[in-house]
Symmetry: C2
Subunit: 595 residues, 2 copies
């Protein structure tokens, strides 16, 4: 490990591809593999840009000290090597390697650092327990697939920025140390040292700040913003995540959506060479739920629900009749080409929907010859079954699955079943990108637990103009000027036009059950701001982590975040969170409660 | 305030400059001023892009409803107006306004929002108490100078990113919720809900993460990173600030510095049209202190100290002799052209240096005729005084100021006096940008209070190779491979080569007084990481807020941050920090200590 003779890297490995044969290069990187043939030693050298073969061969000019160093090299040693680019002879060309037609005949080498045997191989496709990957994240990130993913992340964000910069948007930074806001998820808090007993909160999003920037006349704002939510982490949530946060003044919802479509189109083209069509389909929330049981339907396949309420009106089959009488529904899903599912396979489908509150699933299998096999054959005539098949537009070989229960249960169950079946049947082509807007969300929903209405999006969402008066009389009927951008079954962006007049905001707060005093106590600064000339405005926020995951075909958000946390919020590498000293607690005027 | 008829803005005001006369535009913005001439009403409309005059005139086609609306308009009302671009007649052209040769004859207008009288005028150069500006930040940010500053900030960051993107750097995000690290400033802590009694810390910088990214082979990293320090805020500090954080592998310090010079050169050229010369001057820390009494000297003017130790050797004048005998120094500063300073002005200079520990200042004023007037004339011969003048290279009209005390006191006092005089004398031209590198910092300094050595930069800074062994024997003599970029008296960036070998890092921790167990307890993950093939690496971090402030000629960091905090860490607009509910505290397992 000599550092007395310094050798400084001058070239990246990919540059050897364009270096003339016979020229000298100085490369630096990691030993990927070493093969020792006695008088000749081959070393595959890896850097961020690629892999190339180094040859240590006294007969071809390698120095004695380099031969001695090569003898001791092991995987993941860091070296800097100077040598001559040479063409390989025909027989030893490696077509699997981009640089496989050349090799570097080493003159001198400096071993910058040694390496212990890593806990897993530094290559793609290795099966490693994720806790080990996270504990040794600095080694996990050496694997080419992780480097590709973080590079993709960089390129995606860069492409978003380029579009926004070109369209008059200004990136502006908003505070991370801010105020705890009611009406959202749980805040992370930061105790103040200077103001005893008081706390900052980390922002769940820059929502209020970006609205204030519109009040301040900035007109077009964006930010690649870190957001924080102290939620009970599901398998694929992170306590901190990155949002592309956008807000505009004076634009209509339609104009904003259209601009966002152009942005996404350009980003996919520039970053991944993917062509998508704009404008995107617009699907009202109500229709999305009725047809796909989801407010973020995957439309790479249709498999829309078929409403059988008309067809089955007056049936005396209790399994259908009872839910219908109770105001529920009966809907069918046509699974293409799987009429021949076995009893076991059908049982599995029933087991799949049970957690969603269904008691069972009826089925009609349409055989290739047009014959029908059905679980409800005893209760319906051939003609009645044929009528269902006709209404469902099922073809020979298809399997019709029928659910009857409350709307909510049927939509949830069939919605999940639809996604499940599409995956089973390979209908969700990972190389197809199907975008749509879901629009016309309800503004409010009634929260039984809290005994009041809560905002579906957030309390600053503008109702449709024609619905403003309903805020006072029938809050549940008010539709929001809100829209989600959906890609392949994931909500990748969500936004809305915002309330920009104090009178409407006050009506909204009243609908949420706040007294005027409570409203002013919580959001007085915003109500005040609305009185000094606030322009009409609206915006959207995109989930960067999810977008990169979808484009990079990652399996989890943890694959697109350099240093992610586990589902319990732990950073396994740094071992955060951790205990702190009594002196630190004293300075923050805090004590920890004993359990 | 009619919203029944919708009118959507289609043009920005600056677009009217290129719109043909006679065409119809739809503009939106704020009422800057309204002048009522009865049958004709003039309104200056402001948006982010500029200002234009709207004319409401029934005779020229303004609708009745628009005339009625114009009647009620007041400053800061938000309107959208449709009208025809018209040339003004010769007499009414306003040369002070970019759009002063045209006006918009309004057909229709929609008042989107009214406005109360703002607490201060929305225009530049108004004298407003800063607490009022911060309380109504959304109005303060409407002022053109604040909009310009935030736009400049955007452009500066964008230009930095463009250079780095073009040079193979990848922007990578590192966690905000991380681990409390010893050896830095005070951390902001975030209590964990899921792990009772444990805390995350907000990062003081991404230092450790960027080093881990180098371990992971990312080679060139950057991030526009938010950093947090819970320090006692001086007048111009912010609890959160933005850093352009950069790290590279395999580059020498010289190569990195050279790249950074090219970056800064390009950013200044692209953003501000400022041409600067590279390479920058390199000034070793020791020389910077000896000549300018500062490790970040403003070199727009020289005014270097003159060392009089040789000249005054053997003097029996006690004021000089005593400090020299005690190992101190005598140095002079030549203030050009102010030999005629009055007794009062000279007294003010003495008062200025007293807080730095000097008892007084001796002076020699060189009159235009070459005659001398001196406070020490009684103790020195004419020849002796002339010799001092000669050594100081003082010209007729100059004033020589002489300080004698310990090195530390003389440097601090004369360093501050130098800056003070340069400002008084107008030597610090705000339109000159004088960059330099200060290098060869000491690695460690002895902390009397803690009774041990502490890192001057941070504990990961690489010593000069030739000094590694001194770490164990004479820590105070070790020079660091560290460098600061200095602009006009401000440190705008600081960095170093990092330790990348476990043995050296362990020596460093030992020099800091850690036992091996303590070192591993605090930084075990990093020591471990160094054993798996860590490349040589180093980096730098630039203070974005300060750079923007210097380029935009702002008076304070608060002028370049959209939502800054006061010196007590308060956000006056949001009223953060604030109290939180008992339920929130309970969930975090915390209680607040009574005083």
């Amino acid at each position: 490990m000599s550092t007395s003779e310094r050798l400084i890297r001058e070239h990246q490995i990919e540059q050897t591809l364009t270096t003339p044969i016979g020229q000298v290069v100085t490369l630096g990187g990691w030993v990927q593999r070493r093969r020792d043939f006695g008088s000749v030693i081959f070393v595959d050298l890896r850097d961020r840009s690629g892999l190339v073969q180094l040859v240590f061969d006294r007969a071809r000019g390698t120095s004695e000290s380099a031969m001695a160093a090569a003898d001791k090299l092991r995987n993941e040693f860091v070296i800097v090597a100077r040598g001559t680019v040479a063409a390989r002879d025909e027989a030893s060309i490696n077509p699997k390697l981009e640089t496989g037609h050349i090799e570097i005949v080493v003159h001198d080498v400096v071993v910058e650092n040694t390496a212990k045997n890593p806990p897993f191989y530094i290559q793609d496709g290795v099966e490693v327990d994720e806790t080990v990957r996270l504990r040794y994240r600095y080694l996990d990130l050496r694997r080419p697939e992780m480097q590709r993913m973080l590079m993709l992340r960089h390129q995606v964000i860069r492409a978003f920025r380029a579009f926004l910069d070109d369209n008059g948007f200004i990136e502006m930074e908003t505070p991370i140390l801010t105020k705890s806001t009611p009406e959202g998820a749980r805040d992370y808090l930061v105790p103040s040292r200077l103001q005893a007993g008081e706390f900052y909160a980390l922002p769940q999003s820059p929502q209020i700040f970006k609205q204030l920037l519109m009040v301040s006349g900035m007109e077009r704002y964006y930010q690649v913003a870190r957001c924080f939510r102290d939620e009970d982490l599901r398998a694929d949530r992170q306590p901190e995540f990155t949002q592309l946060d956008i807000e505009t003044s004076f634009l209509s919802a339609e104009a904003l959506q259209s601009m966002m479509e152009m942005m996404v189109q350009k980003v996919l083209r520039d970053v991944a060479g993917i062509e998508i069509e704009i404008p995107f389909m617009r699907l009202p929330y109500h229709e999305a739920m009725e047809r796909y049981g989801s407010d973020k339907p995957d439309l790479r396949y249709d498999m829309a629900f078929v409403n059988l309420e008309e067809t089955l009106k007056g049936t005396d089959f209790r399994v259908f009749a009872d839910p219908l009488a109770a105001g529920g529904t009966v809907k069918a899903l046509v699974a293409p080409g799987v009429a021949s599912y076995s009893r076991k396979q059908l049982d599995d489908l029933v087991a799949f929907v049970k957690p969603y509150g269904l008691k069972g699933l009826a089925y009609i299998a349409v055989a290739q010859d047009g014959g029908m096999k059905s679980s409800i054959g005893k209760f319906f005539t051939e003609e009645q079954l044929a009528e269902i098949v006709r209404v469902c537009e099922a073809k020979p070989g298809d399997l019709i699955l029928i659910a009857a229960a409350s709307r909510k249960e049927v939509h949830a169950a069939l919605g999940a079943l639809r996604v499940h079946l599409a995956e089973e049947l390979g209908l969700a082509d990972p190389n197809v990108y199907k975008f749509l807007w879901v629009t016309d969300f309800p503004l409010l929903s009634y929260d039984e637990e809290e005994g009041r209405y809560v905002a579906e999006h957030h309390p600053f969402t503008m109702p449709r103009y024609e619905d403003v008066d309903l805020l006072t009389t029938s809050p549940e009927k008010v539709k929001a000027q809100a829209y989600d951008m959906v890609l392949n079954g994931f909500e990748i962006g969500g936004g809305s036009m915002r309330i920009y007049r104090r009178d409407i905001q006050e009506k909204m707060f009243a609908a949420l059950g706040f007294t005027p005093e409570e409203a002013y106590d919580k959001f007085g600064f915003l109500l005040d701001a609305f009185e000094y000339g606030t322009p009409p405005h609206g915006g959207i926020a995109f989930g960067i982590d999810r977008i990169v995951m979808l484009l990079g075909h990652g399996k989890s958000l943890r694959d697109v975040i350099a240093f992610p946390k586990t589902s319990s919020g732990t950073d396994l590498l740094m071992e955060a969170p951790s205990t702190v000293s009594q002196a630190q607690l004293d300075m923050l005027h805090l004590s920890i409660k004993k359990k």
